[in-house]
């Protein structure tokens, strides 16, 4: 049975533990590539750290922490060509646009509930932050199908979690991908939890990758805390997609070391010692160890990497705070290309009522 096989199959892994488990290499990745990956990891990490601080300070609203999910996002990003490939994030990947050059202020504005947090998906080939679980999966599949149907070389990646695999939207989307032979990568971040719901209440499958056979597509499992393993797996999946061989389901297995979000208290539903243990071995630390062992990084390098980004993010937060209150007209002018007459009446009614003043 495939379940057993999958179960016995080791998670794909590249980074060793500095002791018994040896470091391996990803063919074709230069030292510069490795440092670029590291730069991405630090950028994402620092943003997440700052965002949590800003939430505590009341400068943004509730926030979905992605501490420990950086390897999945950065490893995937570096396997894509931003000039041709689409990314469809869930709220967990709200800041992945930073890797494509999006201004931190945009992401912070989103979490601050400010229209400056709007972006056009076409600009960065980046779907909007998808809040309804799994609903972005069919979007990625449609985008992949659409590019293929026009003879373009691009592919599309959907990010979603273990909980998302229970939703019909995941199932319908991945099945469309298989049947349409769409150049899509279905990236499942299996962090073991859906808010308070543990994996066992979500699925009885030995591995989520076992679902792939049911759609007639390849399914692979990687260590989600190993940026190089994620990168290699996605690179292969992207190559298959571009070669016209269709979609791949990638299950990145790790553990949610943080609360679900800033409003969540894991103490209510799980034994936090497990998370504490996992934190000691979280993905940025692991990758730093790898780079240090290769002589590509030292304490100074770590400091520099952080310093290089922390100011940008602080500046972004200030930028957002200095924005004037948003124009109330935006409420009415963004839902349709041309607001229907009735909506224009509502607009006038509202703007009159407000006489300009909005908290």
């Amino acid at each position: 049975m495939s379940t057993l096989e999958t179960n016995e199959r080791e998670l794909r892994r590249v980074i060793g533990d500095g002791a018994g488990v040896p470091d391996e290499e990803v063919a074709g990745l230069t030292d510069d590539d490795l440092l670029r990956l590291y730069g991405g990891m630090v950028l994402m990490r620092v943003f997440d750290e700052r965002a949590v601080v800003y939430q505590r300070q009341g400068r943004i609203g509730t926030y979905a922490i992605y501490w420990g999910h950086e390897a999945i996002q950065v490893g995937t990003h570096h396997a894509l060509d931003p000039a041709t490939d689409w990314v469809f994030p869930s709220y967990r990947e709200s800041a992945i646009g930073l890797l494509r050059g999006m201004d931190p202020a945009t992401v912070l504005a989103w979490w601050r509930g400010h229209p400056a947090g709007w972006w056009c998906p076409a600009e960065f080939r980046l779907g909007g932050v998808s809040v309804p679980i799994a609903s972005q999966v069919p979007h990625a599949v449609g985008a992949a199908w659409g590019m293929k149907a026009r003879g373009e070389s691009g592919c599309a990646v959907a990010f979603f979690g273990d909980g998302a695999t229970s939703e019909g939207a995941f199932h319908e989307g991945i099945n469309f991908a298989a049947v349409m032979d769409a150049p899509a990568v279905l990236m499942c971040s299996n962090n073991g939890w859906a808010i308070s719901t543990p994996y066992e209440r979500q699925s009885r499958a030995v591995a989520l990758a076992d679902k792939a056979a049911g759609y007639g597509i390849p399914g692979v499992r990687v260590d989600g805390g190993d940026v190089l393993a994620v990168h290699a797996a996605v690179r292969d999946a992207v190559a298959r997609a571009r070669a016209g061989d269709g979609p791949t389901l990638v299950e990145a297995v790790h553990y949610r070391i943080a609360p679900h979000g800033t409003a969540d208290d894991p103490g209510l539903y799980r034994d936090e010692t497990v998370a504490q243990a996992a934190r000691a071995n979280e993905c940025v630390v692991r990758f730093e160890g790898y780079l240090r062992r290769r002589g590509l990084l030292d304490d100074a390098g770590v400091e520099q990497a952080r310093a290089a980004v922390v100011e940008r993010i602080k500046a972004g937060m200030k930028e957002v705070e200095q924005l004037p209150p948003p124009d109330p007209a935006l409420v009415f002018d963004t839902t349709y290309a041309e607001p229907p007459a009735d909506l224009l009446r509502q607009r006038d009614e509202a703007l009159a009522a407000l006489s300009g003043a909005v908290a």
Binding site: W86, F88, P115, W118, W119, C120, P121, A122, G127, G128, V131, P132, S135, V137, P138, H139, A140, V141, G142, A143, A144, W145, G146, M147, A149, R150, E152, A156, G168, A169, E172, G173, N175, F176, V179, M180, L330, D333, T334, T335, Y336, A337, E338, P340, A341, D342
Partner: protein
């Protein structure tokens, strides 16, 4: 001379011809040409890439259409029947109607969702629903409901060319009801323009879809009684021809609104509310709604009990006159 089905089929050929970014997708729309043959001939003419038989999954249909829009396509999605569009409501409400807003007005969803609509066809359960209220209440969505072959072609053209998502509900009882002149080639009926079906001075009936025929029949009944009834076909519920509608209501000061869907919070309530807000002084009698009832659509041996009839509509008009 074309039936409503032939008119839509003609319109689909015209739109796929006109804009290579369009494609038709749905269950059984390709090889077989659709369970009502609305998409017949499209796959032969434009290929399997532009008339796509999809897996049996309505949320997947609409969800992938969102991605197709992002990569430059203008999908025309068929839901096989009214009630089978319900699994796609989540994608409709959370994404199709919201993506332009979510992108600050920049990423439109130029897609069209069309489906056979309504009752009167003696079919098993869930083949005769009237879901327009779910659609028109949803921000970001436009809703068109043709009542004639020519309008079916013209509204389809307007919908497919519209930069925003449009749901077209096609009264299936009228699919082959009769033939009428349909303009050849390019024929567009702009969204938001009601159609005066007949002029009258004593009372006004506002209707749409299959109920327009019922309203006409009622008007004819009443004509024999010397009552002159004005009949307005809304054609699109959003954008709504509010001025045209209020004009028709003020003209007679008596309003009967007809809707096949269940009554509570249906579109007839919206029509009545607008009249009560803006034409109150012009109204010389209470507003009457003639609608389907707040029950599951009956097994078809009983559907005539449920469906608004010309008699029920005529009686409502008489009540407004005798008031």
């Amino acid at each position: 001379m074309k039936t409503l089905v032939e008119a839509i089929n003609d319109g689909l050929h015209a739109e796929l011809e006109r804009d290579e970014r369009t494609l038709v997708m749905g269950e059984d729309v390709g090889r077989s040409g659709g369970v009502f043959r609305v998409t017949a001939g499209l796959q032969e003419r434009f290929g399997a890439e532009r008339c796509v038989d999809t897996p049996l999954a309505e949320a997947g249909l609409l969800g992938t259409a969102v991605g197709l829009c992002m990569t430059g396509w203008r999908p025309i999605v068929e839901m096989q029947y009214d009630a089978f569009s319900y699994p796609s409501l989540d994608q409709l409400i959370t994404h199709v109607g919201r993506y332009r807003w979510r992108s600050g007005g920049r990423m439109g969803m130029p897609l069209t969702i069309r489906m056979p609509y309504g009752g009167g066809v003696r079919a098993p359960e869930l083949h005769e629903d009237s879901p327009e209220a779910y659609y028109v209440h949803t921000p970001g969505i436009k809703v068109a409901i043709p009542s004639t072959p020519a309008d079916a072609k013209g509204l389809l053209a307007a919908a497919v060319r519209d930069p925003d998502p449009v749901v077209i509900l096609e009264p299936k009882v009228l699919y082959r009801a009769d033939r009428e002149e349909v303009p050849e080639g390019d024929h567009v009926v702009p969204l938001g323009q009601a159609r005066t079906v007949r002029e009258g001075d004593d009372a006004t009936i506002v209707a749409y879809g299959a109920m327009v025929r019922v309203a006409e029949a009622a008007a004819e009944l009443l004509e024999h009684e010397g009552t002159s009834v004005h009949v307005l076909d809304l054609r699109t519920l959003r954008p709504l021809d509010r001025a045209g509608m209020l004009g028709a209501i003020r003209r007679t000061g008596r309003l009967v609104v007809v809707q096949e869907a269940p009554r509570t919070a249906g579109f007839a309530a919206e029509v009545a509310a607008i009249a009560a807000e803006e034409a109150m002084l012009d109204l010389q009698a209470p507003i009457e709604r003639v609608t389907g009832y707040d029950v599951a659509f009956p097994y078809w041996r009983l559907e005539d009990v449920y469906l608004p009839s010309s008699e029920r509509v005529a009686a409502a008009v008489r009540r407004t006159l005798e008031y």
